[in-house]
């Protein structure tokens, strides 16, 4: 480099003149307004800086069911590293609550450079909508919180005043919205699939049948039906199952895919086509009945509807399960050979499987929700419970017929041993919808105004939705309000119709952590805090522990928490925010701590968990009363977890239905007859009342839309249709639903590939590593293919939750969002049929490029050039 000293010296510039000129030039720069500038540190800032790190319990808040223990080493507001549970030594009886890859990636989410940092407005939006078609491809303008909130409140007000509250659509109707007259909402069974109503009418409750986790070790046979806890229930479920295996249980896994769980646990894998599980179960029932292997005594005593001699009052005796299976009246015996034509399982395997579950006692027969997340999933639930009860494995050690076993209940049963208290914060009911949004409303009631997920985008576009016994009702949605709710556009079926809906309405606002697919198609995006930036709270995963997490860092950039946002909107709507949110976050956390209860050592009842003194209350700066518990306030806050120690033979064991089995007369079930209802007319009537289809009162194999038979143009003649393959969607280890999909660590570890059988690939000229195009009747995605014999021929799978990234020109999604492929097939009680979807596949040879996902920033640059 040149010698600058010489250069300046030789330039003969006058020091005085130059300094004057530079001062004048600097003055014109007006740096005082620059947000990115330094200021003089206060004495406090200097003294507090760079102190030694402290381990703080950090939230792992996603909806995966695990909610394991995560701790962060925090130095001066910066997280240096994370660790997981080391609060006690690990053992099978008293296991640590160890985090999975997702939990351990948490800091890479909270501190990702792509967090939303400021309120932003779509450039071509104006009150009333502006250029609506530009949603998802417009440029953005940074705005102040005041401007953003003013816009949001003004639009809510304008739309309510012009069209009424029913013109507002919100997945989560917040306190402010509800106090302002409410909003239309979305509802559906989502993760439960079709289980809720069959359970309600057949066994009298939700997710019943599981005994205590330690009792699993008493089972001689464990059947896991459509469950892959290794991927979808990280945390301890797989470990718990492994203890049963070590204790000698045989494992059978039923799944279209030889999953990681099958690999780890299964002595036998039984492949079955998606949506045909009912046929498989009926074939098994036929084998059991015709070989007299069913537990007739159990069926007679505890069930109703199995045979003509045990029918509910008023029911047609011909409409019994046994005669349907035998084909007495319809002329179609549901033989294993008949079943095999539908489900694809070898008849010999069906017989062996049926024999095994009939004679092995005690047995655990456990279904997740997967097979019920299908069109007409209710029939699977009916069949599963019926065949399970035919084996009589109820109410005894090691014997379980478990329905809907997944998420935080996978491998666990019985009541929670430790529970957090309530926050005490009021929740204002939605005047337009007081029914549950999950699993759904009572179809016979006429006072609710909500739309099932599968119809919601259609309803926005067409102005009509299905309202239970009221049938089709008109609607006129003008605004979509996404406050405090994940990623509804991405996670509801029929994504492409959703884009149309978003582009139709007058206003869309989304509060989020990132520019998710939902935020991307909005007019205004608001940066929300993660749980790491909030004061703290509670999480519960499995029933043996609770986690109390604390604040890790200050809210990043201009992020604000959901309650603050709602209060600010309330203020602008002329409401009193103090009335809607009377308690500080700290008081709410205190109330939860004070309300924590834990099971007594003798198992008889619950007692307070935390000891709180006057001094604790004063130091914490809240209102409360002292109490005596098991662990001090300070210790509980520092540990951030309480787990009940377990050992075989302790007082917390639990056998579901024990009372009923021992004395059915005095302990009837909460069903119409007080018994297990293999036949339930009320179930059939209820499903009909929802307004989409009918269901038989017993388990029958009825036509499944976009099931296996629909892959044929003519099933009898076996002529294939244009969509000859079946797609089912899975909870994938990379994400918890759509959360964490943008995390490079996880993207690198878990590729978003379509899993496919090599025979199907070969027939289409597809080779290992190719990019394939998957098309359904509803949309198209491109993705890399992963070929493996572990997948049944004719069937594909793809993980749900990838953030759709639609190429504007072709309409192709490059991310592999399964809801681009899943159409909105509203059915049953409002079941999202994520696992029945017909597709076609070809090698992709178009112009779009797909880099490995973890290198996606480069691709995003290209997509955004000049348009966003």
């Amino acid at each position: 480099m040149a010698d600058f000293m010489d250069k300046v010296t030789n330039s003969k510039l006058s020091r005085r003149t130059f300094l004057k000129a530079s001062a004048a030039a600097a003055a014109s720069l007006s740096l005082t307004g620059c947000a990115n500038s330094l200021t003089i540190a206060s004495a406090e800032q200097v003294s507090k800086a760079n102190k030694e790190g402290k381990w703080i319990t950090a939230a792992c808040w996603h909806n995966c069911g695990g909610r394991c223990l995560n701790k962060a080493l925090v130095v001066d507001g910066v997280v240096i590293r994370q660790k997981t549970d080391d609060t006690h030594p690990d053992s099978p009886d008293f296991p640590q609550q160890r985090a999975c890859a997702r939990g351990r990636s948490q800091r890479t989410q909270v501190f990702a450079p792509d967090r939303l940092k400021y309120p932003m407005k779509r450039k071509n939006w104006e009150p009333g909508g502006g250029q609506r078609e530009l949603r998802g491809r417009d440029e953005w303008v940074r705005i102040s919180w005041d401007e953003a909130l003013d816009h949001v409140a003004a639009e809510i007000k304008r739309i309510k005043e012009s069209y009424g509250n029913k013109a507002l659509l919100a997945k989560k109707a917040t306190n402010a919205l509800n106090a302002y007259g409410g909003a239309m909402t979305m509802w559906g069974c989502t993760s439960d699939g079709a289980w809720p109503k069959p359970q309600q009418f057949m066994n009298g409750s939700r997710s019943r049948g599981s005994n205590d986790r330690l009792d699993l070790r008493n089972s001689k046979l464990v059947v896991l039906w459509g469950a892959n806890p290794v991927w979808s229930s990280a945390g301890n479920p797989t470990y718990n199952f492994l203890q049963a295996k070590k204790a000698g249980a045989k494992f059978i896994v039923v799944d279209p895919f030889y999953s990681d769980t099958a690999q780890l646990l299964a002595d036998e894998w039984i492949p079955v086509r998606p949506g045909t599980d009912t046929a498989l179960l009926l074939g098994m029932a036929y084998y059991m009945i015709s070989n007299n292997l069913h537990d007739q005594e159990f069926l007679d005593k505890y069930c109703i509807g199995f045979d003509a001699e045990h029918m509910p009052e008023g029911a047609d005796p011909k409409e019994n399960f046994k005669d349907y299976v035998l084909g007495t009246y319809d002329g179609v015996p549901k033989t294993p050979e008949w079943a095999s034509k539908h489900c694809g399982t070898d008849p010999a395997v069906i017989k062996r499987f049926a024999h095994e579950i009939a004679v092995t006692k005690p047995m655990t027969f456990s279904s997740s929700s997967a097979a019920a997340r299908t069109y007409l999933g209710e029939q699977f639930c009916q069949a599963f419970l019926t065949v399970g009860w035919m084996t009589g494995n109820v109410g005894k050690a090691g014997a379980m017929i478990c329905s809907n076993n997944r998420h935080n209940t996978q491998s666990y049963g019985g009541p929670a041993l430790v529970r957090a208290g309530r926050t005490g914060a009021p929740s204002i009911p939605n005047p337009l919808y007081s029914e549950p949004t999950f699993p759904g409303p009572d179809p016979f009631k006429t006072d609710w105004h909500g739309i099932v997920w599968d119809e919601v985008w259609d309803a926005v576009v067409t102005g009509e939705y299905t309202a239970g016994i009221r049938g089709k009702q008109p609607c006129d949605i003008r605004a979509i309000l996404n406050f405090g709710v994940g990623n509804p556009l991405n996670q509801a079926t029929n994504f492409m119709r959703g884009v149309e809906a978003f582009r139709k309405v007058e206003f869309v606002v989304t509060a989020a952590h990132f520019l998710t697919a939902t935020a991307n198609y909005s007019d205004i995006v608001l940066p929300a805090t993660t749980e790491w930036e909030k004061f703290g709270g509670f999480l519960s995963g499995n029933p043996e522990m609770i986690i109390h997490y604390s604040q890790i860092t200050e809210p990043l950039y201009e992020a604000k928490d959901d309650d603050w946002i709602d209060m600010e909107i309330a203020k602008r709507l002329g409401l009193d925010p103090k009335e809607l949110y009377p308690l500080s976050p700290k008081q709410q956390v205190f109330n939860q701590i004070a309300g924590c209860t834990v099971i007594k050592e003798d198992g008889s009842d619950y007692e307070p968990l935390v000891t709180i003194t006057e001094q604790d209350i004063a130091e914490f700066g809240v209102e409360g009363t002292p109490q005596q518990g098991r662990i001090s306030f300070k210790e509980f806050r520092e540990r951030g977890i309480y787990q009940v120690p377990r050992s075989p033979g302790d007082n917390y064991g639990y056998i579901d239905y024990k009372d009923f089995i021992e004395d059915p007369e005095n302990n009837p079930l909460d069903t119409e007859s007080g018994k297990f209802q293999i036949h339930s007319q009320a179930l059939a009537d209820t499903i009909k009342a929802y307004g989409w289809n009918t269901l038989a009162p017993i388990a029958k194999y009825q036509h499944v839309r976009e099931g296996y038979e629909d892959t044929f143009a003519d099933f009898e003649k076996q002529i294939k249709s244009d969509y000859p393959l079946q797609l089912f969607t899975i909870h994938y280890a990379r994400r918890s639903h759509s959360t964490l999909d943008n995390i490079p660590w996880l993207r690198e570890a878990f590729a978003q590939s379509v899993i496919m059988n090599p025979a199907d690939a070969e027939a289409r000229g597809i080779k290992k590593g190719d990019i394939i195009k998957v098309s359904s009747r509803h949309g198209t995605v491109i993705r890399p293919v992963y070929l493996t014999e572990r997948m049944m021929p004719g069937v594909l799978t793809l993980g749900e939750g990838a953030w759709a990234d639609i190429d504007e020109e072709t309409g192709i999604d490059k991310a592999g969002c399964t809801n681009v492929l899943n159409g909105g097939l509203a059915n049953g009680q409002g079941v999202q049929a994520y696992n029945t979807c017909n597709v076609q596949v070809e090698k992709y040879s178009g112009p779009l490029q797909l880099l490995p996902d973890y290198l996606w920033p480069l691709r995003i640059v290209e997509a955004q050039r000049g348009t966003k």
Binding site: F4, F18, L29, N50, V75, W140, V861
Partner: protein, 231 residues
């Protein structure tokens, strides 16, 4: 306690170079830390900036920007609006930033903000009693904050020179040299490459080039001044 002022040192030239670098650091801070305004563009287009860059043999570096500025003259409102959109896209979001403007993103494999390396930058600032205006809610190692730190230190250096505090002047210059070596020169070249790869707008493309070259030149300038003072 001040060292005795050595006699054959070219103090006037040092003073000019210090004032010059302070100005350029501030100008770059403004460009990389704030939404573009006409005022900033005028400053960049001024005779003084031309003189200032010429002192560092960088007089030709403005030509790319100047052609954009003459285009701007044809439709100021439209061109400025486009430039603001590009600033938003490159520096604010809401979509994933193609070239995140924080040091920690480039010096760690994980590409995150608020990392251990951020604390190291924070330590440097605190050594001179500085913190970012939005301390602890915004990451300390944003390019504009590091530029502000360098501008402030250049200002302190100027003051030391004015007051004949040569020890303090040398110490500040050594710190600046060290901050450039341990921090800015360590990551800005990659940042600039990423930024240039992801913008087709001539303004930020050219400004990034100026930033990159200026830091290297300033390192040479500081080294020369220290050498001169240690004669």
């Amino acid at each position: 306690m001040s060292k005795i002022m050595p006699k054959n040192v070219r103090y006037d030239s040092i003073a000019i170079l210090l004032a010059n670098r302070k100005y350029l650091y501030h100008l770059l801070q403004k460009i990389f830390g704030d939404e573009p305004t006409l005022e900033t563009l005028n400053s960049l287009n001024s005779d003084f900036t031309q003189t200032s860059l010429a002192l560092l043999s960088m007089e030709d570096k403005l030509s790319g920007i100047k052609s954009f500025l003459s285009k701007l003259e044809q439709d100021r409102e439209k061109e400025l609006d486009k430039l603001c959109s590009e600033y938003t896209r490159l520096f604010l979001g809401p979509a994933k930033l193609p070239a995140p403007p924080w040091e920690s993103v480039y010096v760690n494999k994980e590409r995150l903000i608020f990392q251990e390396s951020t604390l190291k930058v924070r330590e440097w600032y605190l050594k001179y009693d500085f913190v970012p205006t939005n301390y602890r809610t915004e990451a300390d190692d944003h390019i504009a904050l590091e530029l502000d730190f360098m501008a402030n230190l250049a200002d302190f250096a100027e003051n030391s020179l004015e007051n004949n505090q040569i020890d303090s002047l040398i110490k500040i210059l050594n710190d600046q040299k060290s901050f450039l070596e341990k921090h800015m020169l360590n990551w800005v070249p990659q940042y600039v490459a990423d930024l240039q790869a992801s913008t087709t707008h001539p303004f930020y493309f050219e400004a990034a080039g100026i930033l990159n070259l200026f830091l290297k030149v300033d390192h040479a300038v500081v080294t020369e001044i220290i050498r001169e003072l240690n004669i």
